[in-house]
């Protein structure tokens, strides 16, 4: 009986610790994705302003230099543009965001920034595109700072909370 109790306690503590780490990891992934988006937009900006590459090609090219959820997002977006699904950039971008939201770790705030950026992407001359890129980069920079603060605040908390929570439950059940 005692051995079963011990095993159960270990399982509880183990899984709650994993949960805690996963919750903490979201903060790290969020920062990583924001930085990746900044890099992707910088690359997209130079494709647009320096080389006048058509948007579908430019997006596809960028999708090969990013990873994870951001890669899925850019790949999906490039596919929609190339197959001329969706009648406008705005629509295609929104659909892609919707489709890839689950594999991304950024928050609703960042999604809102991305949605509004999709409303102007590709829609003006190079000068105006450059201005919009500057705006979105600034917004993402702010989000990066916010995400870093949140990470340093909550990362350790979630990790300890997972372990300690598991311990507490195990003690209660013992």
């Amino acid at each position: 009986m005692l051995s079963i109790k011990i095993i159960c306690s270990i399982v509880i503590i183990g899984s709650s610790t994993i949960l805690g780490f996963r919750a903490a990891n979201r903060y790290v992934l969020r920062i990583r994705e924001i930085r990746m988006l900044q890099m992707a937009f910088a690359q997209l900006e130079s494709e647009i302003t320096a080389y006048s590459t058509f948007l579908p090609e430019a997006v596809l090219r960028i999708s090969t230099s990013v990873q994870g959820g951001v890669r899925d997002l850019f790949r999906d977006f490039a596919g929609r543009l190339q197959n001329k699904l969706g009648d406008s950039v705005t629509e295609a971008w929104q659909e892609s965001l919707k489709a890839c939201e689950k594999s991304l770790h950024i928050t609703a705030e960042e999604i809102r920034i991305l949605v509004s950026f999709g409303g102007v992407l590709g829609s003006g001359d190079k000068g105006s595109q450059q201005r919009y890129f500057k705006i979105v980069q600034n917004q993402l920079k702010n989000q990066e700072i916010k995400a870093e603060n949140a990470c340093s605040k909550y990362q350790n908390m979630y990790k300890s909370l997972g372990l300690l929570g598991g311990l507490a439950v195990a003690i209660l059940l013992f």
Binding site: I48, T49, S52, T53, F54, L55, P56, L81, K84, D87, S88, V89, A92, G122, S123, G124, D125, K126, Q129
Partner: protein
């Protein structure tokens, strides 16, 4: 069979340029009507129209034609916005230059003319905004259309300097394109020669990303979207053509460039907007060219036997008509 394939090709490109609701309408246009279709006219707040076999028609929601605007599909702001996105491949910034010139060339050489509000900067057009009118012109190259006139513009020793005069939509560009192809590929009794096309308005070769979409010949180089005067000089310097072909001379600097080509021993074949020789004489730039007797052959197009009829071919020096009767 070939024409069926060609039909499918233009349909795909044109349909891709349209938003889904208009795609359905245009795809449903009856086959006979679609076969003769030259233009699709899209104007915001006004009915959807096509120009087919020389007549205008309104298009209903189901793709059938009508003579009454009330029955037609009326274009919305949403439609025009979407067309612009699609024809620019979702990249307005990449077609700034084309917009400034008033048209965008699609794959296959089809052209979409645009009209809207011009934005000026220092007296020059910076770009167009509020684009509300589109004219989708279906380019139909007629391979072999120059067959009957080739012997008039070539001799044993080479090609004559040739000017083609015609009113708009009489098949000037179609003819000059086929002349380029025949000179370049050669035909019985004439070995092919090097041809340079200076295609200021992307109409002759219909280049899409620099590659000619129309059959302009195996030995033909194209300087796309390049001002004629500069393009002619660039061609002479770098591509050693035997003949340079351009469209629509009209500016004083074009005449200078043509003279430069003559000095370099390069033959020139070009076109101008003008119904006949007398008309051309009244226009300052053309009259200068005619007075100097630069052109050895002057071809006048009309429609006495249908669009693209060659009405007269003059000897440029004697102004004698070399044709017994119009040919098409």
């Amino acid at each position: 069979m070939e024409s069926l394939e060609y039909d499918a090709a233009w349909k795909r490109v044109i349909l891709e340029a349209l938003p889904e609701n208009l795609q359905k309408i245009v795809a449903a246009i009856p086959v006979g009507m679609a076969a003769g279709m030259e233009e699709i006219r899209i104007r915001e707040g006004r009915p959807l129209m096509i120009y087919s076999s020389g007549r205008n028609y309104y298009l209903r929601h189901d793709g059938t034609t009508s003579h009454y605007p009330k029955e037609a599909y009326w274009i919305t702001h949403r439609d025009t916005e979407r067309i612009l996105q699609r024809i620019s491949n979702y990249s307005i910034y990449a077609v700034e230059e084309e917009l400034r010139n008033g048209y965008i060339t699609l794959e296959g050489g089809h052209r979409v003319g645009v009209a809207g509000k011009a934005v000026l900067e220092n007296g020059r057009i910076k770009t167009l905004k509020h684009i509300s009118s589109f004219n989708i012109r279906i380019s139909r190259e007629i391979v072999g259309s120059a067959g009957k006139i080739m012997r008039y513009i070539t001799s044993n020793t080479g090609v004559y300097h040739t000017l083609i005069l015609s009113s708009p939509q009489m098949g000037k560009t179609t003819l000059v394109r086929d002349i380029a192809r025949q000179l370049s590929d050669g035909f019985p009794g004439f070995p092919g020669i090097k041809v340079g096309i200076v295609d200021e308005r992307s109409e002759i070769a219909g280049c899409y990303r620099g590659v000619p979409q129309n059959r302009v010949g195996l030995q033909t180089d194209v300087m796309d979207a390049c001002p004629k005067a500069i393009g002619i000089m660039m061609m002479i310097r770098s591509m050693s053509p035997a003949v340079i072909i351009t469209d629509e001379v009209g500016k004083a600097e074009d005449v200078d460039a043509i003279e430069e080509a003559l000095n370099a021993g390069v033959k020139i074949i070009t076109t101008a907007h003008s119904g006949n020789i007398d008309d051309a004489r009244r226009r300052p730039i053309l009259s200068r060219l005619l007075e100097k007797k630069i052109f050895q052959r002057i071809i006048v197009l009309g429609n006495s036997l249908g669009v693209g009829t060659v009405e007269r071919i003059y000897d440029g020096y004697t102004l004698k008509n070399l044709l017994d009767k119009p040919v098409r």
